[in-house]
Symmetry: C2
Subunit: 213 residues, 2 copies
């Protein structure tokens, strides 16, 4: 692995464990056992590292968000698609830990983040319209935006809530817990509630299968 790549992955790990504000460039160099000068040769300061990590996150997210056109997706695909997004967000979870700090220190990253949030909501909107047309979901037009907000909120903030309650959200099981909360949020809007109840019961098996494949 190249030094630049090693620096990014080590920084990501440290940011996730200690928060962005709790980690300096020197900490990253120490952890890698390289000189601060060598680190500086690759990245001119922590700001550049944070920007590069956000760029990695953004590229992965956009590639997932653009991978599926509505019209070619069933509800199980949809859940799998949400799982892929949650996995990436877990990997880059330091970005969600203190959004206000990030916004203040890195206005560029913050603007990119806002755009990404908008893309997420646009994608949900497109998929919900499609699933309503297909008769899978039943969502009145005047409720659509509230449901998008609600799902978006659960989608991005569930780990922070577990954190407030004192849980250690570094554990990967919080990916599945977040996904289950999203499914639970959508449950009242499914047309075939029996199918959906069965789906909720099966979700653990389903998540285990996906984990193994």
């Amino acid at each position: 692995m190249k030094t630049a790549e090693k620096i990014l992955l080590t920084a990501l790990e440290l940011f996730n464990s200690n928060g962005e504000s709790g980690v300096t460039s020197v900490d990253i160099a120490l952890e890698l056992d390289i000189s601060p000068g060598n680190l500086y040769y690759h990245f001119k300061g922590k700001e550049i590292i944070v920007s590069a990590l956000f760029e990695m996150y953004r590229e992965r997210m956009e590639s997932i968000l653009n991978s599926r056109e509505a019209g070619d997706i069933n509800i199980q695909d949809f859940f799998y698609y949400l799982l892929l997004i949650l996995q990436q967000s877990h990997l880059f979870r330091f970005l969600y830990r203190s959004p206000s700090d990030i916004a203040e220190k890195y206005p560029e990253v913050s603007r990119g983040f806002q755009k990404l949030m908008k893309t997420k909501e646009d994608t949900l909107r497109r998929l919900f319209v499609y699933f309503v047309d297909e008769g899978v979901l039943e969502i009145a037009d005047n409720k659509r935006e509230s449901i998008i907000t609600l799902v978006g909120l659960v989608f991005t903030q569930a780990p922070s809530y577990y954190l407030l309650k004192g849980d250690n959200i570094n554990d990967e099981r919080y990916i599945n817990d977040s996904l289950k909360m999203v499914l639970f949020t959508l449950q009242p809007y499914f047309v075939a509630s029996e199918t959906n109840d069965a789906l909720m019961l099966d979700i653990d098996d389903w998540l285990n299968d996906k984990g193994e494949s």
Copy 2:
């Protein structure tokens, strides 16, 4: 107003605007136009100020949470009660901005916070059981805990979500927006959905009335 009280209120305002990590004891003294020595005479460091503010928040919250016994509350009272809690959380919103930072720097505050979250969830649980018994809500036993988590999540994390999207959450209208999202979350579980639809439509009027009274 006594100096100690002035210090707390000024600190609260600065923490809410700039985040706890973006404010030093010296900043607070400067803002108040007193010497750092005078501030130190009242509070021996920022940690004591943060703890004192958390204590204020905790006392106010517990007084609200304990003010109502189930058995003496209707659904409109319940919404008003949620509004009171949201108002206090808005006032002390810096505590919710970077929970992971707070947890790391102030383990004592973090433990108090976790207890408070538990009290909130316990109160919701008691009220939901009551409203189900009264025939106002319809919640299957196996869904109760998920609904409590979902409502708790919306209740505490809605402002952070608006923040992620780039909104300025210092505006008090976010209190009402958060309350509306909680009501929306509960909507599918109301027995009389027509009553509830009417209630959602009236909620703006209702919030305006409460604001004036």
